[in-house]
Amino acid sequence: MSEVWSFFAEPLGYAFMQRALLGAVLIGAVCSVLSCYLVLKGWSLMGDAISHAVLPGVVLSFVLGLPLAIGAFAAGLFCAVATGYLKENSRVKEDTVMGIVFSGMFGFGLVLFSKVETDQHLNHILFGNMLGITPRDLVEVGIIAGITLLIVIAKWRDLLLYCFDPAQARAVGLPLSVIHYGLLVLLALTIVASIKAVGIILVVAMLIAPGATAYLLTNRFSRMLMIAAAVAIGSCVIGTLLSFHIDGATGPCIVLVQAFAFVLAFLFAPRHGVLAMRREQRPTA
Protein backbone atom coordinates (compact mmCIF):
# COMPACT_ATOMS: atom_id res chain seq x y z
CA MET A 1 0.00 0.00 0.00
CA SER A 2 2.66 2.45 1.01
CA GLU A 3 4.54 1.62 -2.17
CA VAL A 4 1.59 2.67 -4.27
CA TRP A 5 1.36 5.81 -2.21
CA SER A 6 4.99 6.64 -2.67
CA PHE A 7 4.76 5.96 -6.41
CA PHE A 8 2.51 9.01 -6.55
CA ALA A 9 3.72 11.04 -3.60
CA GLU A 10 7.45 10.92 -4.03
CA PRO A 11 7.70 12.57 -7.46
CA LEU A 12 5.15 15.18 -6.48
CA GLY A 13 7.44 16.40 -3.76
CA TYR A 14 9.42 18.17 -6.48
CA ALA A 15 8.20 21.40 -8.03
CA PHE A 16 9.51 20.46 -11.49
CA MET A 17 7.54 17.21 -11.32
CA GLN A 18 4.38 19.08 -10.35
CA ARG A 19 4.81 21.35 -13.33
CA ALA A 20 5.60 18.44 -15.63
CA LEU A 21 2.51 16.60 -14.50
CA LEU A 22 0.23 19.59 -14.90
CA GLY A 23 1.68 20.36 -18.33
CA ALA A 24 1.36 16.76 -19.44
CA VAL A 25 -2.26 16.53 -18.35
CA LEU A 26 -3.20 19.79 -20.11
CA ILE A 27 -1.48 18.77 -23.32
CA GLY A 28 -2.84 15.24 -23.12
CA ALA A 29 -6.39 16.51 -22.73
CA VAL A 30 -6.30 18.94 -25.63
CA CYS A 31 -4.47 16.55 -27.96
CA SER A 32 -6.94 13.80 -27.16
CA VAL A 33 -10.06 15.70 -28.20
CA LEU A 34 -8.43 16.74 -31.46
CA SER A 35 -7.24 13.18 -32.01
CA CYS A 36 -10.85 12.00 -32.26
CA TYR A 37 -11.37 14.24 -35.28
CA LEU A 38 -8.02 13.46 -36.87
CA VAL A 39 -8.57 9.72 -36.64
CA LEU A 40 -12.04 9.90 -38.17
CA LYS A 41 -11.19 12.47 -40.82
CA GLY A 42 -8.13 10.47 -41.90
CA TRP A 43 -5.87 13.35 -40.96
CA SER A 44 -3.39 11.42 -38.85
CA LEU A 45 -0.61 12.24 -41.26
CA MET A 46 -1.60 15.90 -41.13
CA GLY A 47 -0.68 15.96 -37.43
CA ASP A 48 2.69 14.44 -38.21
CA ALA A 49 3.23 16.83 -41.11
CA ILE A 50 2.43 20.00 -39.20
CA SER A 51 4.59 18.99 -36.26
CA HIS A 52 7.65 18.31 -38.42
CA ALA A 53 7.09 21.43 -40.46
CA VAL A 54 7.25 23.52 -37.32
CA LEU A 55 11.04 23.15 -37.05
CA PRO A 56 12.18 25.91 -39.43
CA GLY A 57 9.71 28.25 -37.74
CA VAL A 58 11.24 27.47 -34.38
CA VAL A 59 14.77 28.11 -35.60
CA LEU A 60 13.83 31.32 -37.40
CA SER A 61 12.17 32.55 -34.21
CA PHE A 62 15.51 32.16 -32.40
CA VAL A 63 17.26 34.08 -35.11
CA LEU A 64 14.73 36.91 -35.12
CA GLY A 65 14.31 36.92 -31.36
CA LEU A 66 10.57 36.26 -31.58
CA PRO A 67 8.59 34.07 -29.20
CA LEU A 68 9.01 30.46 -30.24
CA ALA A 69 5.31 29.88 -30.55
CA ILE A 70 4.79 32.50 -33.24
CA GLY A 71 7.36 31.09 -35.68
CA ALA A 72 6.25 27.56 -34.99
CA PHE A 73 2.61 28.37 -35.53
CA ALA A 74 3.28 30.22 -38.77
CA ALA A 75 5.40 27.38 -40.13
CA GLY A 76 2.82 24.74 -39.15
CA LEU A 77 0.02 26.63 -40.79
CA PHE A 78 2.12 27.27 -43.88
CA CYS A 79 2.60 23.51 -44.23
CA ALA A 80 -1.16 22.87 -44.02
CA VAL A 81 -2.05 25.60 -46.49
CA ALA A 82 0.73 24.70 -48.92
CA THR A 83 -0.42 21.10 -48.88
CA GLY A 84 -3.97 22.17 -49.67
CA TYR A 85 -2.79 24.44 -52.48
CA LEU A 86 -0.55 21.84 -54.12
CA LYS A 87 -3.27 19.23 -53.90
CA GLU A 88 -5.84 21.49 -55.55
CA ASN A 89 -3.48 22.43 -58.34
CA SER A 90 -1.91 19.12 -59.28
CA ARG A 91 -2.92 15.54 -59.76
CA VAL A 92 -0.77 14.33 -56.88
CA LYS A 93 -2.72 12.94 -53.92
CA GLU A 94 -2.89 14.73 -50.61
CA ASP A 95 -0.79 12.31 -48.54
CA THR A 96 1.99 12.42 -51.12
CA VAL A 97 1.99 16.20 -51.29
CA MET A 98 2.00 16.36 -47.52
CA GLY A 99 4.99 14.03 -47.34
CA ILE A 100 6.95 16.25 -49.67
CA VAL A 101 6.01 19.50 -47.96
CA PHE A 102 6.71 18.44 -44.40
CA SER A 103 9.91 16.52 -45.06
CA GLY A 104 11.15 19.44 -47.13
CA MET A 105 10.39 21.88 -44.34
CA PHE A 106 11.88 19.55 -41.72
CA GLY A 107 15.06 19.25 -43.77
CA PHE A 108 15.19 23.01 -44.15
CA GLY A 109 14.80 23.36 -40.39
CA LEU A 110 17.67 20.95 -39.72
CA VAL A 111 19.95 22.77 -42.15
CA LEU A 112 19.02 26.12 -40.60
CA PHE A 113 19.66 24.78 -37.13
CA SER A 114 23.16 23.64 -38.02
CA LYS A 115 23.96 27.11 -39.36
CA VAL A 116 22.63 29.05 -36.40
CA GLU A 117 24.28 29.70 -33.05
CA THR A 118 21.76 29.02 -30.27
CA ASP A 119 21.70 27.84 -26.72
CA GLN A 120 18.92 25.42 -27.60
CA HIS A 121 19.39 21.65 -27.76
CA LEU A 122 18.11 20.03 -30.92
CA ASN A 123 17.23 17.03 -28.79
CA HIS A 124 14.85 19.11 -26.70
CA ILE A 125 13.08 20.38 -29.79
CA LEU A 126 12.81 16.94 -31.34
CA PHE A 127 11.94 14.94 -28.26
CA GLY A 128 10.69 17.47 -25.77
CA ASN A 129 11.88 18.42 -22.32
CA MET A 130 8.97 17.84 -20.01
CA LEU A 131 11.01 18.24 -16.83
CA GLY A 132 12.33 21.59 -18.01
CA ILE A 133 8.90 23.19 -18.30
CA THR A 134 8.94 26.65 -16.73
CA PRO A 135 5.97 28.35 -15.09
CA ARG A 136 5.83 30.66 -18.11
CA ASP A 137 5.62 27.69 -20.48
CA LEU A 138 2.86 26.34 -18.32
CA VAL A 139 0.85 29.55 -18.66
CA GLU A 140 1.27 29.42 -22.43
CA VAL A 141 0.16 25.81 -22.58
CA GLY A 142 -2.76 26.60 -20.30
CA ILE A 143 -4.00 29.42 -22.51
CA ILE A 144 -3.74 27.45 -25.75
CA ALA A 145 -5.27 24.33 -24.23
CA GLY A 146 -8.06 26.39 -22.68
CA ILE A 147 -8.98 28.10 -25.95
CA THR A 148 -8.88 24.89 -27.95
CA LEU A 149 -10.91 22.94 -25.42
CA LEU A 150 -13.51 25.72 -25.21
CA ILE A 151 -13.93 25.81 -28.98
CA VAL A 152 -14.18 22.05 -29.29
CA ILE A 153 -16.67 21.77 -26.43
CA ALA A 154 -18.83 24.51 -27.95
CA LYS A 155 -18.58 23.28 -31.54
CA TRP A 156 -18.00 19.54 -31.33
CA ARG A 157 -21.17 18.72 -33.22
CA ASP A 158 -20.32 21.02 -36.12
CA LEU A 159 -16.81 19.62 -36.35
CA LEU A 160 -18.23 16.12 -36.28
CA LEU A 161 -20.66 16.82 -39.10
CA TYR A 162 -17.85 18.39 -41.12
CA CYS A 163 -15.78 15.21 -40.76
CA PHE A 164 -18.65 12.82 -41.32
CA ASP A 165 -20.50 14.41 -44.20
CA PRO A 166 -19.27 17.71 -45.64
CA ALA A 167 -22.17 17.79 -48.11
CA GLN A 168 -24.67 17.74 -45.25
CA ALA A 169 -22.62 20.34 -43.40
CA ARG A 170 -23.10 22.56 -46.45
CA ALA A 171 -26.76 21.72 -46.69
CA VAL A 172 -27.43 22.97 -43.16
CA GLY A 173 -25.51 26.14 -43.88
CA LEU A 174 -22.24 25.50 -42.02
CA PRO A 175 -19.29 27.50 -43.37
CA LEU A 176 -17.07 24.67 -44.61
CA SER A 177 -13.86 26.57 -45.20
CA VAL A 178 -14.09 28.29 -41.81
CA ILE A 179 -14.42 24.89 -40.15
CA HIS A 180 -11.68 23.36 -42.29
CA TYR A 181 -9.13 26.06 -41.58
CA GLY A 182 -10.38 26.44 -38.02
CA LEU A 183 -9.56 22.80 -37.39
CA LEU A 184 -6.12 23.24 -38.95
CA VAL A 185 -5.45 26.32 -36.81
CA LEU A 186 -6.47 24.45 -33.65
CA LEU A 187 -4.23 21.58 -34.69
CA ALA A 188 -1.25 23.86 -35.32
CA LEU A 189 -1.83 25.69 -32.01
CA THR A 190 -2.02 22.44 -30.10
CA ILE A 191 1.14 21.12 -31.68
CA VAL A 192 2.97 24.34 -30.84
CA ALA A 193 1.84 24.07 -27.24
CA SER A 194 2.91 20.43 -27.03
CA ILE A 195 6.36 20.72 -28.54
CA LYS A 196 8.16 21.85 -25.37
CA ALA A 197 6.80 18.87 -23.55
CA VAL A 198 6.87 15.97 -26.00
CA GLY A 199 8.82 17.32 -28.94
CA ILE A 200 8.26 17.45 -32.67
CA ILE A 201 8.69 13.74 -33.34
CA LEU A 202 6.42 12.32 -30.69
CA VAL A 203 3.56 14.82 -30.60
CA VAL A 204 1.83 12.90 -33.36
CA ALA A 205 1.41 9.96 -30.99
CA MET A 206 -0.56 12.15 -28.58
CA LEU A 207 -2.62 13.31 -31.56
CA ILE A 208 -3.57 9.81 -32.70
CA ALA A 209 -3.37 7.20 -29.97
CA PRO A 210 -6.15 8.41 -27.62
CA GLY A 211 -8.64 8.85 -30.48
CA ALA A 212 -7.76 5.48 -31.96
CA THR A 213 -8.11 3.79 -28.57
CA ALA A 214 -11.48 5.42 -27.91
CA TYR A 215 -12.67 4.55 -31.42
CA LEU A 216 -12.28 0.89 -30.55
CA LEU A 217 -14.30 1.30 -27.38
CA THR A 218 -17.50 3.03 -28.44
CA ASN A 219 -20.01 3.60 -31.21
CA ARG A 220 -20.91 7.08 -30.14
CA PHE A 221 -18.85 10.15 -30.82
CA SER A 222 -19.71 12.02 -27.63
CA ARG A 223 -18.42 9.06 -25.62
CA MET A 224 -15.41 8.76 -27.87
CA LEU A 225 -14.40 12.30 -26.89
CA MET A 226 -14.70 11.51 -23.19
CA ILE A 227 -12.94 8.16 -23.39
CA ALA A 228 -10.10 9.66 -25.41
CA ALA A 229 -9.64 12.41 -22.84
CA ALA A 230 -9.70 9.91 -19.98
CA VAL A 231 -7.20 7.62 -21.70
CA ALA A 232 -4.89 10.51 -22.51
CA ILE A 233 -4.98 12.07 -19.06
CA GLY A 234 -4.47 8.70 -17.40
CA SER A 235 -1.55 7.90 -19.70
CA CYS A 236 0.01 11.29 -19.06
CA VAL A 237 -0.13 10.86 -15.30
CA ILE A 238 1.17 7.30 -15.35
CA GLY A 239 3.79 8.04 -17.98
CA THR A 240 5.14 11.09 -16.15
CA LEU A 241 5.38 9.32 -12.81
CA LEU A 242 6.86 6.26 -14.46
CA SER A 243 9.54 8.34 -16.11
CA PHE A 244 10.54 9.67 -12.69
CA HIS A 245 10.88 6.21 -11.20
CA ILE A 246 12.72 4.56 -14.08
CA ASP A 247 14.65 7.75 -14.77
CA GLY A 248 13.56 7.74 -18.42
CA ALA A 249 12.63 10.59 -20.75
CA THR A 250 9.11 11.77 -19.91
CA GLY A 251 7.65 12.34 -23.39
CA PRO A 252 8.52 8.86 -24.65
CA CYS A 253 7.21 7.30 -21.42
CA ILE A 254 3.82 8.95 -21.94
CA VAL A 255 3.73 7.86 -25.56
CA LEU A 256 4.62 4.34 -24.51
CA VAL A 257 1.78 4.18 -22.00
CA GLN A 258 -0.65 5.49 -24.64
CA ALA A 259 0.48 2.88 -27.12
CA PHE A 260 0.02 0.25 -24.41
CA ALA A 261 -3.54 1.52 -23.80
CA PHE A 262 -4.23 1.16 -27.50
CA VAL A 263 -2.97 -2.42 -27.52
CA LEU A 264 -5.19 -3.22 -24.55
CA ALA A 265 -8.21 -1.77 -26.35
CA PHE A 266 -7.26 -3.58 -29.52
CA LEU A 267 -7.24 -6.89 -27.66
CA PHE A 268 -9.99 -6.49 -25.11
CA ALA A 269 -12.47 -3.90 -26.45
CA PRO A 270 -15.93 -5.30 -25.76
CA ARG A 271 -17.16 -5.17 -29.37
CA HIS A 272 -14.41 -4.03 -31.70
CA GLY A 273 -11.50 -5.82 -30.00
CA VAL A 274 -9.90 -8.85 -31.64
CA LEU A 275 -10.87 -11.21 -28.84
CA ALA A 276 -14.50 -10.09 -28.90
CA MET A 277 -14.64 -10.47 -32.66
CA ARG A 278 -13.13 -13.98 -32.38
CA ARG A 279 -15.74 -14.89 -29.80
CA GLU A 280 -18.51 -13.61 -32.05
CA GLN A 281 -17.26 -15.57 -35.03
CA ARG A 282 -16.82 -18.87 -33.27
CA PRO A 283 -20.45 -20.02 -32.96
CA THR A 284 -21.17 -19.42 -36.64
CA ALA A 285 -17.86 -20.69 -37.99
Binding site: L40, E88, R157, F164, D165, R170, A171, V172, Y215, R220
Partner: protein
Protein backbone atom coordinates in the same frame (compact mmCIF):
# COMPACT_ATOMS: atom_id res chain seq x y z
CA UNK B 1 -43.80 35.17 -54.97
CA UNK B 2 -46.31 33.91 -52.39
CA UNK B 3 -49.11 33.13 -54.83
CA UNK B 4 -47.70 29.69 -55.72
CA UNK B 5 -48.10 26.77 -53.29
CA UNK B 6 -46.09 28.07 -50.36
CA UNK B 7 -43.85 25.58 -48.66
CA UNK B 8 -45.66 24.76 -45.46
CA UNK B 9 -43.53 22.57 -43.23
CA UNK B 10 -42.78 25.49 -40.93
CA UNK B 11 -39.04 25.16 -41.20
CA UNK B 12 -37.45 28.10 -39.44
CA UNK B 13 -34.92 28.72 -42.20
CA UNK B 14 -37.09 27.92 -45.19
CA UNK B 15 -40.36 29.32 -43.88
CA UNK B 16 -42.57 30.93 -46.48
CA UNK B 17 -40.28 29.81 -49.27
CA UNK B 18 -41.71 28.40 -52.48
CA UNK B 19 -39.78 25.41 -53.75
CA UNK B 20 -38.19 26.01 -57.12
CA UNK B 21 -35.02 25.19 -58.93
CA UNK B 22 -33.65 27.00 -61.91
CA UNK B 23 -30.53 25.84 -63.71
CA UNK B 24 -29.50 28.19 -66.49
CA UNK B 25 -26.69 27.63 -68.98
CA UNK B 26 -24.64 25.92 -66.31
CA UNK B 27 -21.19 24.86 -67.46
CA UNK B 28 -18.89 22.99 -65.10
CA UNK B 29 -15.30 22.09 -65.92
CA UNK B 30 -13.08 20.11 -63.55
CA UNK B 31 -9.45 21.15 -63.07
CA UNK B 32 -8.47 18.01 -65.00
CA UNK B 33 -9.93 19.67 -68.07
CA UNK B 34 -13.06 17.54 -68.31
CA UNK B 35 -16.14 19.59 -69.08
CA UNK B 36 -18.72 17.59 -67.16
CA UNK B 37 -21.66 19.90 -67.90
CA UNK B 38 -22.20 22.22 -70.83
CA UNK B 39 -24.95 24.85 -70.91
CA UNK B 40 -27.33 22.74 -68.83
CA UNK B 41 -30.70 24.43 -68.56
CA UNK B 42 -33.99 23.43 -66.95
CA UNK B 43 -36.61 24.78 -64.56
CA UNK B 44 -38.60 22.99 -61.88
CA UNK B 45 -41.38 24.19 -59.62
CA UNK B 46 -42.99 23.19 -56.32
CA UNK B 47 -44.73 19.83 -55.95
CA UNK B 48 -42.47 17.99 -58.38
CA UNK B 49 -40.59 14.74 -58.54
CA UNK B 50 -38.07 15.04 -61.32
CA UNK B 51 -36.10 12.07 -62.57
CA UNK B 52 -32.53 12.75 -63.62
CA UNK B 53 -31.32 10.09 -66.02
CA UNK B 54 -28.22 9.60 -68.12
CA UNK B 55 -25.35 7.17 -68.61
CA UNK B 56 -22.43 6.83 -66.18
CA UNK B 57 -20.35 9.96 -66.40
CA UNK B 58 -23.13 12.02 -67.97
CA UNK B 59 -22.82 14.61 -65.21
CA UNK B 60 -25.61 13.74 -62.79
CA UNK B 61 -23.47 13.91 -59.68
CA UNK B 62 -21.76 17.00 -61.06
CA UNK B 63 -25.13 18.68 -61.44
CA UNK B 64 -25.87 17.88 -57.79
CA UNK B 65 -22.50 19.30 -56.79
CA UNK B 66 -23.28 22.50 -58.71
CA UNK B 67 -26.65 22.79 -56.97
CA UNK B 68 -24.97 22.26 -53.59
CA UNK B 69 -22.28 24.79 -54.40
CA UNK B 70 -19.46 22.24 -54.19
CA UNK B 71 -18.31 23.20 -57.65
CA UNK B 72 -18.72 26.69 -59.04
CA UNK B 73 -20.03 26.81 -62.58
CA UNK B 74 -17.65 28.55 -64.94
CA UNK B 75 -20.71 29.91 -66.70
CA UNK B 76 -24.42 30.17 -65.99
CA UNK B 77 -26.22 30.12 -62.67
CA UNK B 78 -28.25 28.00 -60.32
CA UNK B 79 -31.06 29.53 -58.32
CA UNK B 80 -32.89 27.69 -55.57
CA UNK B 81 -36.24 28.96 -54.31
CA UNK B 82 -35.41 32.24 -56.02
CA UNK B 83 -32.19 32.57 -54.00
CA UNK B 84 -28.55 32.17 -54.89
CA UNK B 85 -27.01 28.83 -53.91
CA UNK B 86 -25.24 30.23 -50.86
CA UNK B 87 -28.29 32.07 -49.57
CA UNK B 88 -30.44 29.00 -50.13
CA UNK B 89 -28.01 26.78 -48.23
CA UNK B 90 -27.81 29.26 -45.35
CA UNK B 91 -31.58 29.11 -45.09
CA UNK B 92 -31.54 25.32 -45.20
CA UNK B 93 -33.54 25.12 -48.42
CA UNK B 94 -31.77 22.05 -49.79
CA UNK B 95 -31.54 18.56 -48.33
CA UNK B 96 -29.21 16.01 -49.83
CA UNK B 97 -29.39 12.22 -49.75
CA UNK B 98 -25.91 11.03 -50.71
CA UNK B 99 -24.87 8.02 -52.76
CA UNK B 100 -23.95 5.20 -50.34
CA UNK B 101 -20.36 5.09 -51.51
CA UNK B 102 -19.78 8.60 -50.19
CA UNK B 103 -20.44 7.66 -46.58
CA UNK B 104 -17.93 6.24 -44.07
CA UNK B 105 -20.09 3.54 -42.50
CA UNK B 106 -17.62 2.88 -39.67
CA UNK B 107 -18.13 6.35 -38.27
CA UNK B 108 -19.11 6.25 -34.60
CA UNK B 109 -22.56 7.76 -35.03
CA UNK B 110 -25.92 6.19 -34.29
CA UNK B 111 -28.94 6.30 -36.55
CA UNK B 112 -30.57 9.00 -34.44
CA UNK B 113 -27.38 11.07 -34.48
CA UNK B 114 -27.40 11.04 -38.27
CA UNK B 115 -31.01 12.13 -38.45
CA UNK B 116 -30.32 14.85 -35.88
CA UNK B 117 -27.70 16.21 -38.30
CA UNK B 118 -30.62 17.30 -40.45
CA UNK B 119 -31.74 19.62 -37.65
CA UNK B 120 -28.52 21.61 -37.24
CA UNK B 121 -29.79 24.45 -39.37
CA UNK B 122 -32.70 24.91 -36.97
CA UNK B 123 -30.58 24.82 -33.83
CA UNK B 124 -28.84 27.47 -31.79
CA UNK B 125 -25.11 28.24 -31.77
CA UNK B 126 -24.23 25.29 -29.55
CA UNK B 127 -26.50 22.86 -31.48
CA UNK B 128 -28.13 21.55 -28.35
CA UNK B 129 -31.27 19.71 -29.47
CA UNK B 130 -34.56 21.04 -28.20
CA UNK B 131 -37.63 18.92 -27.50
CA UNK B 132 -38.92 19.87 -30.93
CA UNK B 133 -35.75 18.69 -32.63
CA UNK B 134 -35.98 15.34 -30.85
CA UNK B 135 -39.63 15.06 -31.76
CA UNK B 136 -38.81 15.71 -35.42
CA UNK B 137 -36.12 13.05 -35.38
CA UNK B 138 -38.51 10.48 -33.95
CA UNK B 139 -41.21 11.47 -36.40
CA UNK B 140 -38.85 11.27 -39.38
CA UNK B 141 -37.56 7.87 -38.35
CA UNK B 142 -41.10 6.70 -37.94
CA UNK B 143 -42.03 7.87 -41.43
CA UNK B 144 -39.29 5.73 -42.99
CA UNK B 145 -40.09 2.88 -40.62
CA UNK B 146 -36.68 2.92 -38.97
CA UNK B 147 -37.56 3.92 -35.43
CA UNK B 148 -36.61 0.49 -34.10
CA UNK B 149 -33.04 1.05 -35.26
CA UNK B 150 -32.50 4.46 -33.71
CA UNK B 151 -29.75 3.26 -31.36
CA UNK B 152 -27.87 1.23 -33.95
CA UNK B 153 -24.53 2.33 -35.29
CA UNK B 154 -25.01 3.20 -38.98
CA UNK B 155 -22.68 0.44 -40.22
CA UNK B 156 -24.92 -2.19 -38.68
CA UNK B 157 -27.70 -1.58 -41.19
CA UNK B 158 -28.53 -3.15 -44.53
CA UNK B 159 -28.24 -1.16 -47.75
CA UNK B 160 -31.92 -0.31 -47.89
CA UNK B 161 -32.03 0.64 -44.22
CA UNK B 162 -29.07 2.96 -44.70
CA UNK B 163 -30.87 4.72 -47.53
CA UNK B 164 -33.92 5.18 -45.35
CA UNK B 165 -31.88 6.72 -42.54
CA UNK B 166 -30.51 9.37 -44.87
CA UNK B 167 -33.98 9.94 -46.22
CA UNK B 168 -35.15 10.48 -42.64
CA UNK B 169 -32.40 13.04 -42.22
CA UNK B 170 -33.70 14.92 -45.26
CA UNK B 171 -37.20 14.80 -43.78
CA UNK B 172 -35.96 16.12 -40.44
CA UNK B 173 -34.30 18.99 -42.23
CA UNK B 174 -37.67 20.17 -43.58
CA UNK B 175 -36.07 21.54 -46.72
CA UNK B 176 -38.32 22.44 -49.65
CA UNK B 177 -35.82 21.08 -52.18
CA UNK B 178 -34.48 17.52 -51.80
CA UNK B 179 -31.71 16.02 -53.93
CA UNK B 180 -31.44 12.23 -54.04
CA UNK B 181 -28.42 10.66 -55.74
CA UNK B 182 -29.35 7.15 -56.87
CA UNK B 183 -31.61 6.31 -53.92
CA UNK B 184 -32.66 2.96 -55.41
CA UNK B 185 -29.34 1.24 -56.02
CA UNK B 186 -29.02 -1.82 -53.83
CA UNK B 187 -32.57 -1.50 -52.58
CA UNK B 188 -35.22 -4.22 -52.87
CA UNK B 189 -38.57 -3.63 -54.54
CA UNK B 190 -40.39 -3.35 -51.23
CA UNK B 191 -38.14 -0.58 -49.92
CA UNK B 192 -38.18 1.10 -53.30
CA UNK B 193 -41.96 1.16 -53.25
CA UNK B 194 -41.90 2.57 -49.73
CA UNK B 195 -39.43 5.30 -50.72
CA UNK B 196 -41.50 6.19 -53.78
CA UNK B 197 -44.62 6.41 -51.66
CA UNK B 198 -42.81 8.78 -49.31
CA UNK B 199 -41.63 10.92 -52.22
CA UNK B 200 -45.22 11.14 -53.43
CA UNK B 201 -46.34 12.37 -50.00
CA UNK B 202 -43.60 14.97 -50.06
CA UNK B 203 -44.68 16.06 -53.53
CA UNK B 204 -48.21 16.51 -52.25
CA UNK B 205 -46.91 18.83 -49.53
CA UNK B 206 -45.12 21.04 -52.04
CA UNK B 207 -41.58 19.67 -52.02
CA UNK B 208 -39.39 19.62 -55.08
CA UNK B 209 -37.32 16.47 -55.52
CA UNK B 210 -34.58 15.79 -58.02
CA UNK B 211 -33.81 12.08 -58.17
CA UNK B 212 -30.96 10.61 -60.18
CA UNK B 213 -31.54 6.99 -61.10
CA UNK B 214 -30.57 4.21 -63.45
CA UNK B 215 -33.91 2.49 -62.88
CA UNK B 216 -35.48 3.64 -66.09
CA UNK B 217 -38.45 1.37 -65.43
CA UNK B 218 -39.55 3.24 -62.33
CA UNK B 219 -39.22 6.70 -63.80
CA UNK B 220 -42.70 6.87 -65.37
CA UNK B 221 -43.94 5.30 -62.15
CA UNK B 222 -43.26 8.24 -59.89
CA UNK B 223 -41.62 11.11 -61.78
CA UNK B 224 -43.83 13.79 -63.23
CA UNK B 225 -40.83 15.56 -64.77
CA UNK B 226 -37.66 14.20 -66.34
CA UNK B 227 -34.31 15.67 -67.21
CA UNK B 228 -32.26 13.63 -69.67
CA UNK B 229 -28.59 14.35 -69.29
CA UNK B 230 -25.51 13.64 -71.32
CA UNK B 231 -22.98 16.39 -70.59
CA UNK B 232 -25.81 18.74 -71.41
CA UNK B 233 -29.57 18.63 -70.97
CA UNK B 234 -30.83 16.67 -73.98
CA UNK B 235 -34.46 17.05 -73.06
CA UNK B 236 -36.48 18.13 -70.06
CA UNK B 237 -40.15 18.45 -69.29
CA UNK B 238 -43.19 16.39 -68.30
CA UNK B 239 -42.53 12.65 -68.26
CA UNK B 240 -45.29 11.87 -70.73
CA UNK B 241 -43.81 13.99 -73.49
CA UNK B 242 -40.11 13.81 -72.60
CA UNK B 243 -39.49 10.23 -71.52
CA UNK B 244 -39.92 8.81 -75.02
CA UNK B 245 -37.99 5.98 -76.66
CA UNK B 246 -36.56 8.50 -79.14
CA UNK B 247 -35.18 10.75 -76.39
CA UNK B 248 -33.88 7.77 -74.44
CA UNK B 249 -32.01 6.52 -77.49
CA UNK B 250 -30.41 9.95 -77.75
CA UNK B 251 -29.49 10.02 -74.07
CA UNK B 252 -28.10 6.51 -73.87
CA UNK B 253 -26.95 5.80 -77.41
CA UNK B 254 -25.26 2.43 -77.65
CA UNK B 255 -25.23 1.84 -73.91
CA UNK B 256 -28.92 1.11 -73.80
CA UNK B 257 -30.18 -2.36 -74.62
CA UNK B 258 -33.24 -2.10 -76.74
CA UNK B 259 -35.61 -4.83 -77.78
CA UNK B 260 -38.59 -4.14 -79.96
CA UNK B 261 -41.15 -6.79 -80.67
CA UNK B 262 -43.84 -5.88 -83.15
CA UNK B 263 -47.12 -7.69 -83.56
CA UNK B 264 -46.24 -8.51 -87.15
CA UNK B 265 -43.13 -10.39 -86.03
CA UNK B 266 -45.11 -12.78 -83.90
CA UNK B 267 -47.94 -13.80 -86.16
CA UNK B 268 -49.09 -13.29 -89.73
CA UNK B 269 -52.25 -11.29 -89.08
CA UNK B 270 -52.05 -7.54 -89.25
CA UNK B 271 -51.21 -6.16 -85.79
CA UNK B 272 -50.15 -2.53 -85.16
CA UNK B 273 -49.18 -3.16 -81.54
CA UNK B 274 -45.57 -3.44 -80.43
CA UNK B 275 -43.51 -3.75 -77.26
CA UNK B 276 -40.24 -1.87 -76.79
CA UNK B 277 -37.95 -2.71 -73.90
CA UNK B 278 -35.16 -0.28 -73.01
CA UNK B 279 -32.65 -0.94 -70.27
CA UNK B 280 -29.25 0.27 -69.12
CA UNK B 281 -28.86 -2.86 -67.03
CA UNK B 282 -31.04 -1.75 -64.18
CA UNK B 283 -34.77 -2.22 -64.33
CA UNK B 284 -35.94 -1.85 -67.96
CA UNK B 285 -38.56 0.51 -69.22
CA UNK B 286 -41.24 -1.00 -71.42
CA UNK B 287 -43.37 0.80 -73.97
CA UNK B 288 -46.50 -0.64 -75.50
CA UNK B 289 -47.55 0.42 -78.97
CA UNK B 290 -46.70 3.74 -80.57
CA UNK B 291 -47.79 6.05 -77.78
CA UNK B 292 -46.01 7.27 -74.66
CA UNK B 293 -45.18 5.13 -71.64
CA UNK B 294 -48.03 3.40 -69.84
CA UNK B 295 -48.84 4.06 -66.23
CA UNK B 296 -47.49 0.71 -65.07
CA UNK B 297 -44.25 -0.35 -66.68
CA UNK B 298 -43.38 -4.00 -66.80
CA UNK B 299 -41.27 -5.14 -63.83
CA UNK B 300 -37.90 -6.64 -64.53
CA UNK B 301 -37.85 -10.42 -64.32
CA UNK B 302 -34.28 -11.24 -65.33
CA UNK B 303 -30.94 -9.50 -64.90
CA UNK B 304 -30.98 -8.30 -68.47
CA UNK B 305 -27.23 -8.80 -68.87
Amino acid sequence: MSSAPVFLAGASGAEGVVASLSVRDVTVAYPSGVTALLDATFELGAGTICGLVGVNGSGKSTLFKAIMGFVTPSRGQVRICGLSVNQALKRCCVAYVPQSEEVDWNFPVLVEDVVMMGRYGHMNFLRIPTAKDKEKVTESLERVNMLRFRHHQIGELSGGQKKRVFLARALAQEAPVILLDEPFTGVDVKTETAIIELLRQLRASGHLMLVSTHNLGSVPDFCDQVVLLNRTVLASGPTATTFTPQNLERAFGGVLRSFRIEGGDLHDDHDARSVTVLTDDERPVVYYGEGGPEEEPLRRTDKGA
